[in-house]
Amino acid sequence: MSGFEDHGDFVRPYEEPPPGHVSSSRLERVLRSGRFAVTAELNPPDSADPADVFEAARPLGEVADAINATDASGANCHMSSIGISALLTRAGYGTVYQISCRDRNRIAIQGDVLGAAAMGVRNVLCLTGDGVGVGDQPGAKPVFDFDSLSLLRTIRTMRDDGVFLSGRKISRPPRMFLGAAENPCIEPHEWRPERLAKKVDAGAEFIQTNYIFDIPLFEKFMARVRDLGLDKRVFILAGVGPLASAKAARWMRSNVPGIHIPDSVIARMEGAQKPGEEGKKLCIELIQRMREIPGVAGVHVMAYRREHQVSEIILESGVLEGRRARRRGSEPTGAGPEA
């Protein structure tokens, strides 16, 4: 049940990435081969039991090329991203280790990157992080020593030049696939693509966006992204998620920073007989429309407390074209991290 028996306690030796790749990440391989990639966000447990992590990962593992372990998202304390990433990696899942600049300074972050890489983590998402004020402990000290761009550039320097920011040598650099976030539907709209260009310059190789419910706005963003030639330089995974109800949508819109939900979406949820099913249907439609937009390389599913719907949503949307990210229980014991 816990996932231990199935996969053993396996640590993979240090490895150099395959030719043409920066890491041995499955997500990178899927994206570079031109397949439509799927990542999914895991709801981190408030627990020290590894079984809770495997439990949370199970509904995502079948369809996700990599599972995102959030780093105290919304400034709420949960099990750490590095801990979750390490557990899941050793159980054979692809993982995205998220780093928020809110809680740690440059010394802690650079050390954690090496630690995560040693434990087999191959993808990292560099985030600024929400302000501490919106979280469960608003009295905390906000760090913000880096911003997401200087963080990207730092990890790229560690990986490609084999040095810390101080210039001190790293004997075995962390071979990680570098990601960043973008929020196409939030102001200042006209500058969001330019900001994306900066992130790519700083080192981003894949992008996971925040929730997108406004397709016309996203299409406008992507048109500008293509004008800037960014779709050729970075893999963009569009953020989606099933809404639970009109009430939940309204709450998200006014309480979670950086979420834009058009009134038409809320009206549609309001009119639905079964809001849960409608939310799922809407999510599938969004994925199918996103897939048609040139430059979109995949989707990133954030189904907070609706993880049970993720497999159905992805399978019904047809984006995997029959392939499976990882069949549950089908891998031999000790398959190793990110096979």
């Binding site: 302000g131 200042p188 900001r195 950086g258």
Partner: protein, 192 residues
């Protein structure tokens, strides 16, 4: 002062012009500062800088001023102290996630930049702040740095000439000198 900050952004082009002049003046003053000693001018200049920039830009004296690259909107006023653009939490209308009454520092920065001749500088990725420089004068830092770079360029040119004319240099050492020239030996108009 928040209103002065908004004024500075509306007039980013004018401030850009002023800043370019100021920078030239500071570089020209490098020999003077060097003679008096940078450590001696540091405190008075930092005091003036703090006063002027505090009123105009809500300057936090980070010591690593990047106003010319951020549309004259000081990024240290961002509650997350972001140096490379807005976060993903900007509120409708372009207001700050953390301080909802304040316009997003970075929404203002793009606005200011679009009014400036050198507005494209905003596209360059900036390094993290060196916190050990907090409270020191950024103006003097610019003056030292640019003057040093100009000196280096001049030295490089002199070396090239000396290497290109080895015979002449052997016969007439004054035609391609490599030794450091004292400020008083350099023609006043060419000193910059």
């Amino acid at each position: 002062m928040y209103r002065a900050r908004l004024f500075a952004i509306r007039h980013a082009a004018a401030f850009e012009w002023i800043y370019q002049r100021l920078e030239r003046l500071m570089i020209a003053c490098d020999p003077v500062f060097a003679r008096i000693g940078y450590e001696r001018v540091e405190r008075p200049i930092a005091l003036v800088e703090r006063g002027v920039k505090g009123v105009l830009f809500d300057c936090k004296m980070c010591g690593q001023c990047v106003l010319s690259s951020t549309g004259m909107s000081c990024p240290m006023n961002c509650p997350k102290e972001l140096r490379n653009g807005p976060c993903g939490g900007v509120r409708p209308g372009g207001y700050c996630e953390v301080k909802p009454w304040m316009r997003c520092v970075w929404a203002l920065a793009w606005d200011g930049s679009s009014r400036m001749k050198g507005g494209d500088k905003i596209r360059e990725v900036l390094p993290p702040v060196d916190r050990s420089l907090k409270g020191s004068s950024s103006w003097l830092r610019v003056s030292r740095e640019k003057a040093a770079r100009l000196r280096e360029a001049r030295e490089a040119a002199r070396t090239t000439i000396a290497q290109a004319f080895p015979g002449a240099r052997a016969n007439e050492p004054a035609v391609a000198p490599l030794a450091t020239e004292p400020a008083s030996a350099v023609n006043r108009e060419q000193r910059q």
